[in-house]
């Protein structure tokens, strides 16, 4: 039994920290002291619980009570009521929207019910800044097992049999990659952890590094043993200060404990690693560009083959793996290939972490078994669409992925099915859209991102994407032609076929997939000069509905170009020739008398 009777776990992920979880922690500690409970109750800062929508989260054990949206001022009540008197603070419990009932335990929450946590197993459960906590939950046991009981070949065989595939986007089988690095003879070999995470809106890898950095260090050492590498690098973007800080602590502690460095656990195996910082260019997440960046060259991709496993960092065999891929390794070693491969679909095993964002009720980080449907993620876990609006589309795979529709909602998702319906797994971004989102504009948004992020090395991507973006801009301004739509398609396909690296090869996906599923909307923009979502401002007009207008003059007063005329208490009118479509009148009208069309 623990020295402490109660443990309070407080989320210390980037999101909750921004909502002052530090203040909660210091207030909790203060009040705990005031009530003389400091020898009974322990406050632990953990990684992300995933339920970011309702953060900051405080979890109380052993009662297993889950408090949401906690503010520093609430600390006193939690201490006085729950810790001292044993009474749960009801007002801080989560109201399950489907039941309209407050639920105290996270296992009763729909958000958690369909999740299986493997990569995120320790996030929100242990303190990421204390190696002792990681050790207490079987930490470094997998490394110990591998070093004492298994040959490198057996490790590779086990990972191959588990069916684990890369979580960085490509979905390449991890065991086969390790095998290739093992088989390339060389004195020096390297392991690289790809923590570049450049997709807009994605934060899976960051959360793992913030919540459970040791699992990645342990897995990198295991990969080193399997491939024959003695040195590793974690390539992380400098914009992740908290993840970097926790990694640094973790590395220092692991070295102190002899779990990194020379002669690990007395087995004669040496492995150490270091952090390398990226400046946050999307293309630097591509493995060859990443390697050049570590070498000190420009972060530009080069042709494959040779693959990094043959000739990577400083021309030595190198295995590049993603953060989430690594986080899966220790449980696979300890629980076995069969355990892991029992989860998921035929070709995609295990789980995938998604960063659920956009117009869903429960924005957050979710880990689900492969083969789950989009409907389950969006409607069961995500709690459905915000404000009871209608679902329109879901974007997966970030700037390389595509937009899917209602009819795809029941497809069991894995690497293959997503690719077959024109999107991809990608690294796990998932953005939900409702009827207020214009699909042409969404495609334009992603293209803007790729145009910015293209490294410029090859023409199809550098020039082609720029042309795609120009055409999309024309369409959203009502200047597009049917010919433009043809060019869009043709050019998109050509870029996919001819670009040098994965960035260019996938960048037309958002355009092509929206054209496939929302063709009507494109045609409307071109032929009818209309945007049904009311997003493309150039295609909009504001009208006053005479029957609803009471003549309050509010709109006329806010109109910056004074194009609204009318007498007091009589219906007003907008002079369309002068209107600049700023929308000020629309927001000003209290009587819903102004309409966008």
């Amino acid at each position: 039994m623990s020295k402490y009777r109660m443990h309070l776990l407080v989320c210390g992920g980037t999101g909750c920290k921004a909502s002052d979880s530090d203040g909660i922690i210091s207030n909790l500690e203060k009040h705990i002291k005031e009530h003389g409970l400091e020898n009974e109750v322990q406050v632990v800062t953990t990684g992300c619980f995933g339920f970011c929508e309702k953060g900051p989260i405080v979890k109380v054990h052993p009662d297993n009570v889950f408090y949401i949206e906690v503010k520093p001022e609430d600390a006193e009540e939690i201490v006085k009521e729950h810790l001292v008197k044993g009474r749960v603070v009801n007002r801080l419990l989560y109201v399950e929207p489907t039941l309209q009932e407050r639920v105290g335990q996270h296992k009763d929450m729909a958000f958690y019910k369909k999740q299986i946590r493997i990569a995120l197993r320790n996030c929100g459960f242990i303190s990421p800044e204390d190696i002792n906590e990681y050790i207490s939950v079987e930490g470094y046991q997998a490394l110990g097992k591998v070093l004492t009981e298994m040959s490198p070949e057996e490790v590779i065989e086990l990972v191959k049999k588990s069916g684990l595939r890369g979580r960085g986007g490509g979905g390449f089988p991890t065991g086969i990659k390790w095998e290739a690095a093992r088989k390339t003879a060389s004195e020096d070999k390297y392991i690289i952890c790809n923590a570049d995470e450049g997709d807009p809106g994605a934060f899976m890898d960051r959360s793992i590094l913030e919540g459970d950095p040791h699992s990645v260090l342990e897995a990198m050492a295991i990969a080193g043993y399997a491939t024959g590498a003695k040195e590793g690098f974690i390539y992380i973007r400098a914009e992740y200060p908290l993840a970097i800080h926790r990694l640094q602590i973790a590395i220092t502690q692991a070295r102190e404990f002899g779990l990194l460095g020379k002669d690990i656990l007395g087995t004669g195996f040496d492995f150490d690693l270091d952090i390398r910082y990226g400046a946050g260019a999307f293309v630097c997440g591509e493995e060859t560009a990443l390697i050049h960046s570590i070498e000190g060259d420009r972060g530009e991709p080069t042709n494959k083959p040779p693959f990094p496993a043959q000739s990577g960092l400083w021309k030595k065999p190198t295995s590049v793996n993603n953060v989430e891929t690594f986080a899966n390794i220790p449980p696979i070693i300890l629980k076995g290939a069969e355990w892991f491969s029992a989860i998921g679909t035929e070709k995609s095993k295990g789980t995938k972490v998604f960063a659920l964002a956009g117009k869903v009720n429960n924005v957050g980080l979710v880990e689900v078994p492969m083969g789950i449907t989009l409907r389950e993620i969006i409607f069961d876990i995500g709690g459905g669409i915000k404000d009871d609006r209608k679902f329109k589309s879901v974007q997966t795979g970030g700037p390389s992925g595509g937009c899917l529709t209602e009819e795809n909602l029941d497809t069991p998702i894995d690497y293959e099915t997503l690719a077959s319906i024109g999107s991809m797994m990608g690294s796990g971004g998932m953005i939900v859209m409702d009827e207020d989102d214009c699909m042409v504009n969404v495609a334009k948004f992603y293209l803007e991102f790729t145009v910015d992020e293209s490294c410029g090395k090859c023409t199809p991507c550098r020039v082609g994407n720029k042309r795609l973006h120009e055409i999309l801009t024309r369409i959203t301004e009502g200047k597009g032609t049917m010919k433009d739509l043809e060019v869009l398609k043709e050019l998109g396909e050509a870029i996919k076929d001819t670009a040098l690296c994965g960035l260019g090869q996938t960048s037309p996906n958002p355009v092509l997939s929206t054209m496939k599923y929302f063709w009507d909307e494109y045609v409307e923009h071109v032929k009818d000069k209309k945007c049904r979502a009311g997003v493309c401002t150039s295609l909009l007009s504001y009208y006053i509905i005479a029957e609803k207008c009471i003549g309050c003059t509010a709109c006329a007063r806010v109109c910056p170009v004074k194009c609204i005329k009318g007498e007091v208490k009589k219906p007003h009118e907008i002079d369309q020739s002068k209107c600049i479509k700023c929308g000020a009148c629309y927001t000003a009208c209290k009587f819903k008398a102004i309409e966008k069309r």
């Binding site: 039994m1 402490y4 054990h61 052993p62 002792n132 050790i135 097992k145 007395g266």
Partner: protein, 130 residues
């Protein structure tokens, strides 16, 4: 901290540390013995906190696992505070009354460890909860 020299050392360290966080797993586990200490104003005034700490210490001393200590509000037996309720999985709960620190330790050694009821302290089987 000096380096860990072998897998056995690592396992020993894990076993030692495991107890530090088992409270968190106990929360998730269903099969634990639950010790519920009445900690409303009446209980606290009668010394429930001291009782609980003593029981906690005794449980740790004996190295007993799978016990969850939780506190509750007033259990309605204010005349017999401090009160301690014991719930073994799948059994009727037992309610002890007037449990001071010393008696708390006795409950740990007799009832929790050896499974014998401490007859003279039982004040009832708590009401059915629905």
């Amino acid at each position: 901290m000096c380096p860990i020299k072998s897998l056995d050392e690592l396992k020993a360290l894990r076993d030692k540390l495991k107890t530090d966080i088992d409270v968190r797993e106990a929360g998730e586990a269903e099969g634990n013995i639950k010790v519920i200490v009445g900690m409303a104003t009446c209980g606290i005034a009668a010394g429930a906190r001291e009782t609980m700490l003593a029981m906690l210490e005794e449980i740790n001393k004996l190295g007993i696992k799978n016990v969850t200590i939780v506190q509750s509000g007033c259990m309605g037996s204010c005349y017999a505070e401090p009160t301690v309720e014991l719930r073994f999985p799948g059994q009727e709960p037992i309610l002890y009354g007037n449990v001071n620190s010393e008696k708390g330790r006795e409950i740990v050694t007799k009832h929790i460890k050896d499974g014998e009821l401490v007859q003279n302290l039982i004040i009832g089987r708590p009401f059915e909860t629905v």
